[in-house]
């Protein structure tokens, strides 16, 4: 694998998206090539700095207010359909735009991290079933989904 290919795959490598053989080839190249290793170190540093930025939590009831606002803004307009945009698409577009705004909020530097909030609950059937299959090494399934119950 040459430098050009390695550089083009570096972002995927840092994000651990490369498959086994490709990942091993990039890793071997990075051990041998100081220039690519430097580029790799820069990308890792950038990812770490981005990751350490504090996320802004929306205020209580934000989701409900956002939904209401989206429906309120979409409801009176009969034009979108004529313009080829259904109500559903308008809502999706608005929610996507709002999500992007939230993402921008999340990336903004802010105050120190808040304490961890904790709650207890019983397993829902999805978590219970995944936990059941995970207890068996001969099943070959082990990823348990994160339950949002109790949150």
């Amino acid at each position: 694998m040459n430098c050009r290919i390695v550089i083009s795959k570096l972002s995927e490598y840092v994000d651990q998206e490369l498959g086994g053989r490709e990942m091993l080839l990039v890793r071997d190249h990075l051990h041998q090539c100081p220039q690519c290793a430097k580029e790799h170190a820069f990308l890792v540093g950038l990812k770490q700095r981005m990751g350490s930025m504090k996320l802004e939590e929306p205020t209580l009831g934000f989701e409900a207010r956002l939904r209401d606002a989206v429906y309120a803004s979409a409801a009176p307009k009969s034009a979108p359909k004529a313009a080829g945009l259904s109500l559903r698409a308008a809502v999706v577009t608005a929610v996507a735009a709002a999500s992007l705004s939230l993402l921008a909020l999340k990336l903004m530097p802010s105050t120190p991290a808040e304490p961890v909030s904790a709650s207890s609950t019983t397993a829902d059937w999805v978590t219970d079933q995944t936990s059941e299959t995970a207890r068996d090494p001969f099943v070959g399934i082990s990823v348990a989904p994160v339950s949002h119950s109790g949150r």
Binding site: A123, S142, V143, V146
Partner: protein
């Protein structure tokens, strides 16, 4: 003379087949017994669920002291999730939702190995043969053919040195599903301890899942529930009620009866028909049935035809 020779030959073949099957079972037992003491770092592709065609790529690290760290590499929607199992607690860290789930380790609730081997020996014809090289490792293939019609055949490729399963296939009605495959396998000299410690980042919300309470009898279960439970005395197709757990006590009340045939498992959930527990709310109505004044659901990693047969058995009380 010829007849005597043939009888002797048949006898020898039967003996050989018997010892071969025995050693294949021993191999499975040894794999279960030694898995917590193996140190390894692997890239594995796994099925995301018994009925899912989606696959996930994981980095699996085992420290040889009963601790396992799994990092999800693919698919993108789960990427970055870390699943840590220290033998007591399973911690799932999801960076995208800034959430952490902690639940009792599945390793602490494994079916006792003796019971497991007894069930496998009773319900499957087990044989071993030389397997192909997987991720540069020499393997032994253990093939488990079901005695009961309709159950899947399971093929397990075990690493010859460590006995870690490197590939698992399930075949039913000529359809083969690759449940697990290994793309790379390394035995590192040492592994950093902090890799296996659950460090929860600041600002993450933590949800702790209460451990289920194991019970032995219906009376013991009823003391914790708001309804009269029913534990089936026998189950068809080689299954047994391996354990009974109260997942939620009063006021909601949810009982889980764990069924196993040695390889496959299913859970029979029971609850009061007047009160649907929160934990069953997202379940498809079609999966729910009634019997003995109880609401029930049967879920598990079994072929649909087997699930239908078991569901019919439970709904008609074929005891």
């Amino acid at each position: 003379m010829v007849a005597r020779f043939l009888v002797a030959l048949i006898g020898l073949s039967a003996l050989a087949a018997g010892s071969h099957a025995q050693s294949a079972l021993d191999l499975l037992r040894a794999s279960l017994e030694t898995r917590s003491s193996v140190r390894a770092s692997m890239l594995q592709s796994q099925s995301l669920g018994p009925s899912s065609s989606e696959r996930t790529m994981l980095k699996v690290e085992m420290d040889g002291q009963n601790r396992v760290r799994r990092t999800v590499l693919q698919p993108l929607r789960l990427q970055g999730q870390v699943i840590l199992d220290d033998g007591r607690t399973l911690t799932i860290i999801a960076p995208d939702s800034r959430a952490v789930n902690q639940l009792p380790s599945p390793a602490a609730r494994m079916t006792p190995i003796d019971l497991r081997m007894e069930l496998i020996g009773r319900n499957y014809r087990v044989s071993r043969s030389r397997g192909e090289t997987i991720a540069g490792r020499t393997t032994t293939l253990v093939t488990c053919r079901p005695v009961n019609r309709g159950m899947p055949t399971r093929r397990i490729w075990l690493d010859r040195e460590t006995l870690v399963p490197l590939r698992i296939q399930s075949t039913v009605d000529s359809t083969t599903t690759l449940l697990l495959d290994t793309l790379s396998f390394e035995i590192p000299r040492s592994m950093p301890a902090e890799l296996f410690e659950a460090q929860i980042p600041a600002g993450y919300s933590v949800v702790r899942i209460s451990p289920p309470a194991r019970v032995q009898t219906e009376q013991e279960a009823d003391a914790r529930l708001n309804f009269r439970s029913w534990i089936p005395r026998s189950v068809p197709m080689g299954f047994v009620a391996e354990s009974v757990e109260v997942l939620a006590s009063r006021p909601s009340g949810l009982l889980a009866i764990r069924l196993s045939d040695g390889f496959h498992s299913a859970t029979l959930y029971q609850w009061d028909p007047r009160r649907l527990p929160d934990s069953m709310r997202r379940l498809d109505e079609e999966a729910i049935f009634s019997h003995r004044g109880l609401r029930m659901a049967l879920l598990g990693d079994l072929p649909r035809s087997v699930m239908d047969r078991l569901r019919e058995f439970f709904s008609k009380e074929g005891v």
